[in-house]
């Protein structure tokens, strides 16, 4: 039997043990959220753009099969080899096959959350193909044998001292030199060498355009371009929901993406690939891995509009105080919490509960996904499917019974309040999670009900 991952609440508790570290994590991500606010405010038509983005995606989902077919045929005309993968295993084996047929030993990879979702790196490593993650943040976590904790800022959970130690160990940089410029330049030198000597490049895809049969990759570092243009073989991987109908739709999404993600007006590079360079081979893998199933769930299908900007991470007060790894899923944060149960309900039943349903995620989302409502809906689905456990079901049944019978409610509530007055230690102890770090409210002598009876008696019908 497989064991469940450490639950979000347990992992969060461990994360929160180091208070100064957590405040730093919270402040750092809040800073990114503030930059996003500033960038969004500088665009008077911001809310209109969100409406448009959401509508374009809604339209695309309603004609998804047609756009994929159109895209495929145009991409083929452009000389791109198009592959379809139904699940993670097929995605990995398609890529391995392509790499093997080119005798590839070393691959440089730019950021692709899809390859994380599919577990591509360990899969290739087991087959003797080495993968170098070239996005600086991903490179750092790869050296540390960790997973990205954030989809845009993969190493946001690490302080510069930790990065410096990692680089010292693996790249032999100066010990205790924590200067981000020094560390970045050191990685640049090492990775340049990898770009030049790699046999193939794997990249993600931000948008694929049906009418032109090409795709767009957005980066700041230039690593996707360095990799893709320096090698003879380029494989791009995309979840099929990345498709959009028209070239002009890119105008909407590129205006929203970087501003939402980091507060930049646009990423440094928005690279549009349509045909392989002379002498190069270009492959594209279209992946399902549960997306078609999610499309069939009316209350959750809008999650497929996601453009992976991570604005919902940065604004999420829970994410900022629990860290990306506590979500035990390739995509963390609020969007991860509504995508993960689709992949595996049992393992991810805790995630939709890792939220206060405050709704900030929904408000920042550039494609207007109703994230907090989907979290709520997942809770209903998961409990109906029995992932809450018997104890929780029984407790809820009792609560339902008490709340539907006014007499019983009054007796129960009054008894509880009186008990709190009479025997406070019954409540003020370590077994009560409320009391661990908070005082209980003081129980007054009489409830409002009692007061009302005494003071507004004349109005009782």
């Amino acid at each position: 039997m497989s064991t469940l991952p450490v639950s979000h609440s347990k992992a969060a508790e461990a994360f929160l043990a180091d208070k100064p570290y957590v405040s730093w994590h919270d402040e750092t991500l809040w800073f990114v959220r503030s930059k996003r606010d500033k960038a969004a405010r500088s665009v008077p038509e911001w809310e209109t753009l969100r409406e448009l983005a959401s509508a374009v995606k809604a339209h695309t989902l309603s004609r998804l099969d047609e756009y994929l077919v159109q895209f495929e045929s145009n991409a083929k005309k452009n000389g791109i080899h198009v592959h379809w993968a139904n699940d993670a295993a097929e995605h990995n084996s398609i890529i391995t096959e392509i790499l093997r047929s080119h005798n590839v030993q070393k691959v440089v990879k730019s950021k692709s959350m899809l390859t994380e979702e599919c577990g591509l790196n360990p899969y290739l490593a087991e087959r003797g193909i080495s993968v170098i993650d070239t996005d600086l943040g991903e490179y750092i976590v790869q050296l540390r044998n960790e997973h990205p904790s954030h989809i845009v800022l993969p190493a946001i959970h690490l302080k510069k001292e930790a990065v410096s130690d990692t680089f010292h160990e693996h790249l032999h940089t100066e010990k205790n030199n924590n200067d981000p410029v020094y560390l970045t330049r050191s990685a640049r030198t090492v990775l340049r060498n990898h770009f030049i000597t790699a046999d193939a490049a794997i990249t993600g895809v931000n948008f694929a355009v049906a009418e032109t049969g090409g795709f767009v990759i957005c980066t700041n570092e230039g690593n996707a371009d360095m990799g893709a243009h320096a090698s003879k073989l380029h494989i791009a991987c995309m979840g099929f929901e990345k498709i959009i109908p028209r070239a002009e739709d890119l105008g909407i999404f590129l205006r929203l993406l970087a501003r939402s993600a980091t507060g930049q007006p646009v990423t440094t590079y928005s690279s549009h690939f349509h045909r392989p360079a002379p002498g190069q081979e270009l492959h594209l893998v279209l992946v399902n891995n549960g997306r078609a199933r999610q499309l069939g769930r009316p209350e959750f299908r809008n999650s497929l509009k996601c453009i992976r900007c991570a604005a919902c991470f940065n604004t999420c007060p829970v994410y900022r105080r629990s860290g990306g790894h506590s979500y035990h899923n390739a995509v963390a944060g609020p969007i991860g919490a509504i995508l993960a149960p689709n992949l595996d309900m049992k393992n991810n039943a805790d995630l939709p509960f890792a939220s206060t349903l405050c709704g900030s995620c929904t408000n920042v989302c550039p494609v207007k996904i109703n994230i907090h409502e989907q979290l709520w809906s997942w809770r209903q689905v998961l409990m109906k499917e029995g992932y809450g456990g018997k104890a929780k079901e029984a407790a809820m049944k009792t609560m339902a019974a008490v709340l539907s019978k006014p007499g019983l409610f009054v007796r129960t509530a009054n008894t509880a309040r009186k008990l709190m007055r009479a025997v406070p230690w019954l409540f003020n102890n370590k077994l009560n999670p409320w009391y661990r770090q908070r005082e209980m409210p003081s129980a007054p002598a009489q409830s409002f009900k009692t007061w009302y009876k005494k003071n507004r008696n004349e109005q009782q019908g």
Binding site: F31, V32, E45, T48, E51, L52, A55, V56, S62, D65, V69, W84, N86, L136, L153, A155, I156, L158, P180, L183, T184, R188, R192, F195, I196, V209, G213, G214, N220, E221, G222, D225, M226, H229, A230, F240, R246, A247, E248, L250, G251, I252, L254, R255, P265, V266, T267, T268, Y269, S270, H272, F273, H274, R275, P276, A277, N288, R293, L295, G296
Partner: protein, 188 residues
């Protein structure tokens, strides 16, 4: 059934009812374009230079130090068409023509035909893009109206030098691509 057909048939079964594709409206901007562009590019670590005419451009090119590859001079640059990353790694400065410059985000559209070799704008230490002042547009919507994204096999919007903030959100200019970037506007 192939995975392709299986995926497509699942999608067909599960897709929602039709929802219309919106028209993209024209947004009106009041800011003067050249100032707007300069403010934006400066904000992201790039630099704007204004030059009156091709004569001034020539002089300025002569003043560049180190190895320069200038793709506005097609015949001289043609020899780099098939150069490998290894061969180009040491290039200091690359000069390429840009087609459209966008004021709202300081992005400049460069396409493969003009860059000779796809690697050039990325592998150099310093990138200079030369754009006609008349090719400055306010926003991305107007930019996409003026370009055809599949005109060449590859095209890219470039906005400033490469950068990263992956270490503690400290901005570092110069990641894997150029460490410096300038846009030269030609015209008055």
């Amino acid at each position: 059934m192939s995975s392709r057909d299986e995926i497509l048939s699942m999608i067909r079964e599960n897709r929602p009812a039709f929802s219309p594709l919106p028209e993209i409206p024209v947004f009106i901007h009041e800011k003067p374009l050249a100032e707007w562009f300069t403010e934006t590019l400066t904000g992201i670590g790039g630099k704007v230079v204004h030059l009156k005419d091709t004569g001034e451009v020539e002089t300025r090119i002569q003043q560049q130090h180190g190895g320069v590859i200038n793709t506005t001079d097609l015949s001289a640059a043609a020899k780099y068409r098939h150069a490998t990353a290894q061969e180009l790694e040491a290039v200091d400065t690359v000069i390429v023509p840009g087609i459209i410059a966008v004021a709202e985000n300081a992005a400049v559209w460069v396409n493969e035909k003009d860059m000779i070799n796809r690697l050039l704008p990325f592998i150099c230490r310093q990138l200079i893009i030369i754009v006609q002042l008349t090719d400055l547009v306010p926003d991305m919507h107007s930019a996409y109206k003026k370009i055809r994204i599949d005109e060449a096999g590859f095209g890219v919007f470039i906005a400033g030098p490469s950068k990263t903030a992956d270490i503690e959100q400290s901005l570092v200019i110069g990641a894997h691509g150029p460490l410096a970037m300038e846009v030269w506007f030609v015209g008055e």
